[in-house]
């Protein structure tokens, strides 16, 4: 896999919940947690997705059906060939020192799950918190049964009934973390950024924008205030920001 488009066989599909599936592809690439790939359904379209794990030569993306493309993807079966380009973008780079706090909201759980596993495989510890509206939105639910991650839901259908930023505030108040790494809705991210600032720790936040070329040319995913390209300088931005 590289910047050029090529189709790869879909090895396996796992359904987590209705409309929420993981897709596994054979891969020959080094991918870092936080990076994304462009997934092409020939004849349909091509869209960005975070990598949710790479293990044993298998690349995993985890997708929620929200519109025409993602619904079409849900119909794909093992053996079909889909296009992949990538990996793209700046990955998570937690600072050395105290373990990081990893926070995933909604579909933002996907890259944080990869980061959590990646650190674990290197013998590094981290605290992992996931938050969703309701239990049915949660990716990898089965993995958290053993207490791997703390779970909060808006409606209390699973784990603690808490809003994600409240829980993060509590954790930051009670323990020292090296970096706050997070992905999720942008309103949540801006709250988390302020929380990290108030504690004096750096934050590594993954943002989503509409993306087209994924190679830093089309300008579609540039941030309004500083012109940074989320497909190149992001999707994970470290605060304070680069030029």
């Amino acid at each position: 896999m590289d910047d050029r488009m090529r189709t790869w066989p879909l090895l396996e599909v796992v359904e987590h919940n209705p409309g929420l599936k993981s897709f596994y592809f054979e891969t020959d690439s080094e991918v870092q947690p936080g990076q994304f790939i462009m997934l092409w359904l020939p004849g349909v379209d091509e869209k960005p997705f975070s990598v949710s794990d790479v293990d044993d030569g298998r690349l995993e993306v985890t997708v929620k059906a929200v519109g025409p493309f993602t619904r079409k993807l849900m119909e794909c079966r093992p053996g079909e060939r889909l296009g992949l380009r990538g990996p793209f973008g700046r990955p998570f780079a937690p600072a050395e020192g105290p373990p990081p706090l990893l926070v995933g909201g909604g579909c933002g759980v996907a890259p944080l799950r990869f980061l959590h596993r990646h650190l674990e495989r290197r013998g590094l510890s981290s605290t992992f918190l996931v938050g969703v509206r309701t239990a049915a939105d949660l990716m990898f639910r089965e993995e958290y049964a053993g207490g791997l991650a703390m779970v909060v839901t808006d409606d209390g259908s699973l784990g603690e009934r808490r809003l994600l930023p409240d829980k993060v505030g509590e954790l930051l108040a009670n323990q020292t973390y090296g970096t706050l790494c997070a992905a999720g809705p942008e309103v949540v991210l801006s709250t988390l950024k302020k929380l990290a600032e108030s504690r004096g720790i750096p934050s590594e936040l993954s943002y989503e924008r509409h993306m087209k070329c994924a190679v830093g040319l089309c300008g579609e995913c540039c941030l309004e205030d500083n012109g940074l390209r989320l497909c190149v300088e992001g999707p994970v931005l470290r605060h304070p920001l680069p030029r």
Partner: protein, 306 residues
């Protein structure tokens, strides 16, 4: 280091490196960032009278020797583009080139009139995009009479704002085409747009990868073609040339200057070398100028013509 500041149609570009149209030229913030990364001027994405949606993905494909794109001239229309110009002025003092396209001679005039109200430093006329055949027929840039008529219409509408015509290689003679533009009132020539269109197939599905099937070729693969085009344009006209096509190094920029370019445009180089390609090429170009007996960019412009 050598002074690289260059005047084109009365507009000073320092360094003489311009962001090419269609690359990061959709928002004021992204163009301002390109200036912070070393560009001496920016060109906006081409705009039309009304907003246009582009082609579906995949629409930009890197490959071994360059890039294939069929973005489909998506743009917010001339009204949206005018707002971007106003916003850019609050962020940066670098010159801004507005790029326009249209489906008829009259419409080119109308878009030019509207964009002129937003006071860009230069209006670039895109008569050469290979991606919109089905709707607009063959590109105007292949036809001497059509290009002449468009140039006159835009000049009439642009008032005091200088007009650059952006040419394609896909015409009987790009040198003669440049001369036609000069005779019709053009103030500068931009050469060249993407080449093609070209195609890339996926072996598994046996279908084109671009959603549009075909797309314009840019990047390293077209550098020798663009260089030859600039050389010919210089032979046929005295107009300043914005040389664009496959440039990503100071060596390539220097070759363009020798062939007759006043300033150099960079598009795909933003991908191959990163967005700081502008400051890197500026440094390399400066080193080259310093290493020549002339030690002056102006004296080196067109030196390949002896």
């Amino acid at each position: 280091m050598a002074n690289l500041a260059t005047k084109v149609c009365g507009v000073t570009m320092d360094p003489p490196l311009v962001l090419a149209s269609g690359i990061l030229g959709v928002s004021a913030a992204s163009m301002a960032r390109v200036v912070r990364c070393g560009a001496g001027a920016v060109t906006m994405k081409s705009c039309s009278l009304e907003p246009r949606a582009g082609h579906k993905n995949p629409c930009v494909l890197p490959f071994e020797h360059g890039m294939l794109n069929a973005v489909g001239l998506s743009n917010p229309g001339v009204a949206g583009a005018s707002k971007v110009i106003a916003e850019f002025r609050t962020l940066s003092r670098a010159p801004l080139i507005a790029s326009i396209f249209a489906g008829s001679v009259q419409e080119f005039g109308r878009v030019a009139e509207r964009i002129a109200e937003a006071r860009p430093d230069i209006i670039e006329v895109n008569v050469s995009c290979p991606n919109v055949h089905s709707e607009f027929g063959a590109p105007f840039g292949g036809d001497f009479d059509a290009t002449a008529a468009i140039t006159r219409a835009v000049k009439d509408a642009a008032g005091a704002i200088p007009v650059a015509v952006k040419l394609t290689l896909q015409c009987p003679s790009i040198g003669r085409m440049a001369k036609v533009c000069e005779d019709s009132g053009a103030d500068a020539i931009t050469a060249i747009n993407t080449v093609g269109p070209g195609m890339l197939l996926d072996l598994a599905t046996r279908r084109p990868i671009l959603s549009n099937g075909v797309g314009g070729l840019s990047g390293g693969a077209i550098f020798p073609l663009a260089l030859r085009a600039v050389f010919e344009v210089r032979r046929h006209t005295g107009l300043p040339i914005i040389a664009t096509g496959g440039i990503a190094t100071g060596d390539q920029a220097a070759q363009m200057i020798l062939a007759g370019a006043s300033v150099v445009g960079i598009g795909t180089g933003v991908y191959t070398r990163g967005v700081t390609v502008f400051e890197e090429v500026a440094r390399e170009l400066g080193d080259w100028v310093d290493s020549t007996p002339e030690r002056s960019l102006e004296a080196l412009t067109g030196a390949a013509h002896g």
